[in-house]
Amino acid sequence: MRKHILVLLALALTTSFKAGAQSLLESSQVSGSFQTDAQYYMLDEGIGITDLNGKKLGINGFGKVNYANGNFSAGIRFEAFLPEMNGFRKELNGVGLANFFATYDNGFIGMTVGDIYDQFGSGLVFRSYEEWSLGMDNALRGARVVLRPAKGVTLKGVYGRQRYFWAPYLERNFATDDYRGIVRGVDAEWDLNQSVTALNDSKFKMSIGGSFVSKKQVNQSMFYNIPENVGAAAARINLGYGNFAFSTEYAYKINDPSAINNFIYKEGQALMASLSYSQKGFGAVLQVKRIDNMSFKSMYTGKQNDLDINFIPPINYTHTHSLPSMYTYSTQPNGEMAAQLQVNYTIPKGTALGGKYGTKLTFNMSQVNDIVRDSVKYGNAMALNESGTLGYTSKFFAISDHRFFRDINFEIDKKINKDWHVTAQYINLYYDIETIEGHAGSPVVKANIGFLDVTYKINKKQSLRLELQGLWENEVHKGYEVEESEKKDFQKRGDWAFALLEYSITPHWSFSIADKWNYGNPVEEYRDHYFTGTITYIHEATRVMLSAGRQSEGVVCVGGVCRTVPASSGVSLTVSTSF
């Protein structure tokens, strides 16, 4: 009997151990993805590439692996820029483990250590995120705790230091200007509909939230008394009733002199609001925003998008076709007033204009102007935006005459019959290139843009797609006189034409050729053709794309995927897969 028990015990232990290991294996998920973008650069005097600066090849690659088991998950991401492709920041050059994290979340409490991506509200005081295709990553390395003490209530706390390319986190090197501070933040959100039973299925929706974020930085400046602690707070509310939705967020930041705001000691403010109405077949949304001195970085000397703690969203329409996306607006953190209206409407099926499949219409209008700044007293004189002063005062609702951007566009999307599909868009654009791209003295881009995108289904497997686009500037074109010394500012200016023909065999292959032609550039030597040929192969989650030719700066969408590319000439290869 004893023997039996022992045997059974041994059996029980081994089987349960084996089964335990097996169940651990079975309940574990390992997933991941890889991507490599490589470009071989060639000299191309035609588009002004006369020197490769010793760089014939650029390779950006990453590989990530995620592990998950129930409430536990962890991941690593390895990155290599050997060297970085043109158009990416030089500081990215290198290779290493860029990101790792481990999370335990049981619904009541969630804890993460490692690199954290999160945002509070719409991100006006805190957002850490990454965008591989732009080489952008401001992950917060540290810890995060999320608590959900009651239904509909979420409390969050984050603490850490942000990624700054490959700079080490612990031993910052002040000699290389790495003065990164520590970022700390808390956020609370209360969703009434989830926490109050009577409101669970109510037509009325409400949630409120608030956050506080501060940075602790080291003052290394010889000229300015840089505050060691800078705090920012935000409050938000989302309301809904039936088909209507309203949301708004206001943020305030104490004085935070920095390289971006010209070292002024003024407080910062941001306000965003949106109102929308939607029902089947119709949707409309109006957004407004006011930004005043809201650049918030964990290092006061940070440039461009480096070490941004917050995120100020541009609210205008994002164009994805080649010519419309040439002039893309980017947020002016020092001040802007913006409004945006979008209406989506589907003319119903079975009507005269709707036809068999319905006709989809989109109208969008957005405009951004500067805020109004008045000078402040400094000693006995008046000063406007001068370093070391309070900078300026600004009336909250005053709008400057200085317009940065305006985009009015109308799109029609129509499936004509089983085989033909047409999309057409007209865009009227105003783009203050001097402010947005920093080209001092360049005339504003005022342009009419149109595109036509026609798809023809040859049969169940094969289709052809033709894109025709044109961009016509009202003032800067062939006849415009350009001084010899200003020539450089007129690259990519004037009129453009674009054509693309794509042949695809579902589900694997796509072949395309495209030409982008700056035929109306005021400077004769810039009237170039940018010819490209691309082959794409897709198998499930794997994509291989090979293209050759010239690329001008912009967003290219081929083979069903979009990405941004800098100007270059040569051969490029993208391989990506996920599992």
């Binding site: 929308s276 029902q279 994002t318 319905g358 497997k461 579902t506």
Partner: protein, 163 residues
């Protein structure tokens, strides 16, 4: 005693099989929390497709899926979750776009790309097919004309297995 041990052996043998879907919570268009690992469709297939308002091919894919969605549902009971990766630049536009285009999918907002990262999506559109046990059985990136036919063949495979 022996019985207890026997019971132990059997409990040990009972390995639980878990869903492939990550433990990430997103909000739907009505503000309700939806935990992705708990998505279920009564054993019928689920499609999760990633898109954004600024992604042209995604809009094409969604329009094409919407045209056939009713038929697919009638035949296989499949449910489509459409995950928008729009960030605060364009989250306010998601609902008006979805309603304005007349899409019938369950739309979820992945405002900070949490699900996108957890499911290793690099570029939208990216579509996953999940079977009745929560296993990812097929995925596809990019969109070509008629790519939905291939997806439907895969849906039919698992819908048939069920019967």
């Amino acid at each position: 005693m022996t019985l207890v041990l026997m019971a132990l052996v059997f409990t040990g043998l009972h390995a639980q099989s878990k869903s492939d879907l990550p433990n990430v919570t997103l909000k739907d268009l009505n503000g309700k929390d939806v935990n992705i690992s708990k998505l279920s469709n009564n054993g019928k297939p689920i499609v999760i497709t990633f898109w954004a308002t600024w992604c042209g091919p995604c809009i094409k894919e969604h329009n094409a899926l919407n045209d056939v969605y009713q038929d697919w549902q009638d035949e296989t009971g499949v449910k489509i979750y459409s995950v928008s990766i729009d960030d605060s630049r364009s989250t306010a536009k998601v609902k008006p776009t979805v309603e304005g285009k007349g899409w019938e999918f369950e739309v979820l907002l992945d405002v900070n790309s949490d699900l996108k990262r957890a499911m290793n999506v690099s570029n939208p559109p990216h579509t996953f097919l999940i079977d009745g046990n929560g296993k990812i059985v097929y995925q596809h990136t990019g969109y070509f004309e008629c790519a939905e036919d291939e997806l439907y063949e895969e849906i039919l495979k698992i819908a048939k297995k069920k019967k």
